[in-house]
């Protein structure tokens, strides 16, 4: 069984390279100036806020996960571990390059907003690793790309109505669109509240204030497509159509929690950091010999589905 942190997709420097891969002259994200890759330096990118979230997690990535440590190094004090390390002479050797990560729904400029929000919802702090170390943004990106809904297959036939709160979400708007519009609107709201500073570049306290405004329904509408105020419905995508600040918050929180706590096979909960926080040991074949050991912590390892499948099926 491979050590969990040996996995390619969990290797932090590679994910930094992946975030940079769309930065080519052929596919410039809207908010990033078109420039040959070798001319974009780290400072420029940090100013644009594109990598602040990624950088915040670097210190931990070089530690063994599961230790209750906080990031020991900020990007300013350990440039060698920064996401831009090695960018100047980007390693194009296929033996070294990681090609199986990256983002297939959001663009990096949106990921940086998402990352900043997830990192406030489940921060890296004294109680241990958070959304950053869990790779929650990778989970959410994959889910949006799959076009599935939170609860799986959805009835998508019309006619569409507003409906009562007891009838559940009735909107025709596809979930990935709600997520993308919600992120961009959250960023716009941040800029309107804090003199043009985007969400990802705000202080933690300012970011928290934005999130509280959203969850409390203090900010009513997210752009022209907002329809109505929605009640906060934990673990569901809200009770009203469209995307309101409050229903987007609910959606964002639901997916962040899911990315933190779902099996690592889905791209989040890397090295089972979410499970280790609360003490959920994962895919154990049996607890029959421990269930009546009252008031005693469980004995054993944390086991992911992939590790379990290696045991029972010889594939992982």
């Amino acid at each position: 069984m491979p050590a969990p942190h040996d996995s390619d997709t969990h290797d932090q420097p590679s994910s930094a390279v992946d975030e940079s891969t769309p930065l080519t002259p052929e596919s410039p994200p809207e908010s990033i100036p078109v420039a040959p890759i070798h001319l974009i330096n780290r400072r420029h990118l940090l100013e644009m806020g594109a990598f602040t979230g990624a950088a915040a997690g670097i210190g931990l990535a070089t530690h063994a996960f599961g230790q209750e440590s906080t990031p020991s190094a900020s990007p300013e004090t350990s440039p060698e571990a920064s996401p831009m390390a090695g960018m100047g002479d980007m390693d194009m050797n296929p033996q070294h390059a990681n090609t199986n990560t990256g983002f297939s729904f959001f663009v990096p400029a949106q990921i940086s907003i998402l990352r900043a929000a997830c990192n406030r919802l489940i921060p890296t702090d004294d109680s241990g690793p958070g959304a950053e170390e869990a790779g929650v943004v990778y989970f959410i990106d994959r889910e949006m790309a799959s076009r599935k809904n939170f609860r799986g297959p959805r009835y998508d036939r019309g006619p569409f109505v507003t409906g009562e709160a007891t009838q559940g979400d009735q909107s025709a708007m596809p979930l990935p669109d709600r997520f993308r519009i919600g992120l961009l609107s959250m960023d716009a709201y941040a800029k309107s509240k804090y003199s043009g500073t985007g969400f990802a570049s705000l202080t933690a306290d300012q970011q928290d204030q934005i999130l509280k405004d959203m969850s409390g329904g203090n900010v009513d509408a997210f752009g022209s497509i907002s329809i109505d105020k929605a009640p906060l419905t934990p673990m569901a995508s809200g009770g009203q159509p469209g995307i309101t600040a409050q229903s987007f918050f609910s959606l964002l929180l639901s997916y962040t929690m899911a990315g933190f706590f779902s099996d690592p096979v889905h791209g989040g909960n890397r090295d089972m950091v979410g499970w280790k926080l609360i003490g959920f040991p994962g895919a154990h074949l049996s607890w029959a010999d421990q269930i009546e050991n009252y008031n005693k912590p469980f004995q054993g390892d944390y086991i992911s589905l992939g590790q379990y499948q290696q045991q029972v099926g010889g594939e992982s």
Partner: protein
């Protein structure tokens, strides 16, 4: 134009618990050729569940084993003044999909209804007078007594290797069992299993309060078990992944283990997966065939002599309506019977205690390894002056705290995100004990199902429309226990802090509550108050048997599976001993 296939003797519509029990009995007692039409896939313990069932995101959150809502759903409104809107996502309840039905993903909580519950209206009117019941309740006596159906409850228990401790054996009260239950003719096939820490603390507290706690009857095998068909269960591993998951170890009582393989081994049964029946064709009171969409969406007609409609409650009702069998119930005129007496389960009553100094290991458990008390179920307590009737079983069950949906509950006023939430989740996730009441859902004139006038399924047929709400009776029932029962239990449990649940208002289809949806094709003594007769035979089409929780005239304070199983064996016996020797109306 549908492709017409050669005739067969028996067709099963839906192949979950009901169809597979009747198929197993027909395989055992007859040479009839049978075809089972199941809209979902045939998944089995190996290799499907053993190799991937530990995936909460796929199965519990993303609805891996449930009816595919992109193809078929229901519409819902609280009352006739609202417009029904489709249930676009799960959800209040989780119907199964595939061979074995909802018993593939169930928790294994296996109960019988109380003996007097089969004569519920008579019992309540006798004890409290005719004026005590709310005017709009349409609860009614069942057409059979508990004593009549008891042998079939026992047969079901033996088929599925149910474990527990009898509380009443042939009218003798037994220490350690449920003293309120109706008399059993036999002890449970298997002894109770292991009890999680939280449930044992609850049982201690209940005992101190003078109640009589007993092990919750369990459909997750407590040992190695072989049923009368020669089918086997292995012992439960208490892995904590029962409800919403298939069982990885062949321990969960499920048709895919206990009835389907036996029926298939007869050589007389063919199962067609991905086959969605949309009409029962009939003429002059006799069904001639069913038509269905096959896996490619093409129409196929299957002629048969005998048809067993044993799908989930929702589809049993819809197919009767789409096939124009009987008259759809209209609450305004009270004419018609199909769709009448639709009921649910009333949750909401209960509480949680958190212990600073105790580790609960809440991720260990089976779906039904709890401890229960029955002092507050149905009419087990005196309702004089309380202003409501009914109640429910109260259980503390540690079913496995999977982390996405069950990283709580956390103490009141804990934020839902940020460092404070995170610290609280880390501290309390494994230190809580929750308990609650499975409340009774009586039948009312205004609660019913019919066909939606607007919304359609993937093939263009109308969806089923649910019109349902709780009434003051159930609100008072929940409030009574939240004020008079659960605070005492919480206090007795001790702990660092506790919380009692909020009371209920209107039924809301958004949060998960219970997959116990019942009624609409009710059993009864007379065609004026029922869709099927005492033996689950259609009053209108004599070679059609409709069996399921859709037969319940009203719902009791327990999970329905045991009673559905008893009805399936009851109907199978009637088909074999009464109908087949002399086809025609048997009641």
């Amino acid at each position: 134009m549908a492709t017409k296939l050669p005739h067969t003797d028996v067709v099963f519509i839906g192949f979950g618990m009901v169809g597979s029990i009747i198929a197993a009995e027909l395989a055992k007692n007859t040479k009839l050729k049978m075809v089972a039409l199941e809209r979902g896939p045939y998944r089995d313990t190996f290799p499907d569940f053993i190799q991937d069932h530990f995936d909460e995101w796929r199965y519990a959150v993303q609805s891996g084993l449930f009816m595919d809502l992109s193809k078929n759903t229901v519409t819902f409104r609280n009352n006739a003044d609202q417009s029904a809107a489709p249930m676009r996502e799960y959800g209040s309840f989780l119907p199964g999909n595939g061979v074995g039905g909802a018993m593939v993903h169930w928790n294994g909580q296996l109960w019988r209804f109380l003996d007097y519950f089969f004569e519920y209206r008579s019992h309540l009117e006798e004890r409290y007078g005719k004026d005590y019941l709310p005017k709009d309740t349409t609860i009614q006596d069942w057409p059979m007594t508990y004593a009549e159906i008891e042998p079939f409850y026992t047969k079901f228990d033996e088929t599925f290797g149910i474990s527990g401790k009898a509380g009443n054996l042939n009218n003798e009260i037994q220490e350690g069992g449920n003293p309120f239950e109706g008399p059993r003719s036999k002890e449970y096939p298997q002894a109770p299993g292991k009890i999680p820490y939280g449930s044992s603390l609850f049982a201690d507290a209940a005992k101190e309060l003078g109640y009589k706690p007993f092990p919750q009857p369990n459909g997750n095998s407590t040992g190695a078990y072989t049923n009368p068909y020669g089918q086997k269960l292995g012992p439960c591993n208490y892995c904590g992944f029962c409800e919403r998951f298939g069982c990885h170890t062949g321990a969960k009582a499920s048709p895919i283990l206990m009835t389907v393989p036996y029926a298939l081994a007869s050589g007389n049964l063919e199962i067609r997966q991905f086959s969605t029946v949309y009409r029962i064709n009939h003429q002059d009171g006799k069904a001639t065939s069913v038509t269905y969409f096959d896996a490619n969406g093409l129409e196929v007609e299957q002629p048969a002599d005998l048809i067993v409609l044993g799908a989930f409650t929702l589809e049993n009702n819809r197919l009767m309506m789409l096939s124009q069998i009987g008259e759809i119930y209209d609450p305004k005129t009270e004419k018609g019977t199909v769709g009448r007496n639709y009921t649910y389960q009333v949750g909401g009553a209960g509480g949680t205690v958190w212990f600073e100094d105790k580790i609960m290991n809440r991720f260990m458990g089976s779906g039904s390894s709890g401890m229960s008390i029955d002092e507050f179920n149905s009419d087990n307590f005196d309702h004089t002056g309380l202003g409501f009737f009914g109640g429910g079983n109260i259980t503390c069950n540690v079913i496995g705290a999977r982390p996405i949906l069950n990283n709580g509950p956390l103490p009141p006023k804990t934020p839902t995100w940020g460092s404070e939430w995170k610290a609280a989740a880390a501290k309390w996730y494994n230190r809580s004990v929750s308990f609650g009441m499975q409340g009774e859902s009586p039948a009312y004139r205004q609660n019913h199902v019919d066909l939606d006038p607007t919304y359609k399924d993937q093939f263009g047929d109308p969806l089923l429309r649910i019109t349902f709400d709780f009434t003051d009776n159930e609100r008072k029932m929940v409030q009574y226990t939240n004020e008079n029962v659960f605070p005492n239990i919480a206090k007795q449990l001790g702990g660092t802090q506790s919380a009692i649940n909020g009371n209920i208002t209107s039924y809301n289809i958004v949060p998960y509550q219970s997959t116990h949806v019942q009624g609409g094709t009710v059993v009864g003594s007379d065609p004026s108050n029922s869709v099927v007769n005492k033996y689950c035979q259609s009053w209108d089409v004599e070679n059609l048997f409709v069996v399921g929780a859709s037969n319940f005239p009203q719902h009791g304070g327990y999970n329905p599976t045991g009673t559905v199983g008893a009805l399936a064996y009851w109907a199978a016996d009637a088909i074999i001993s009464k109908y087949l020797p002399k086809p025609g109306s048997i009641a």
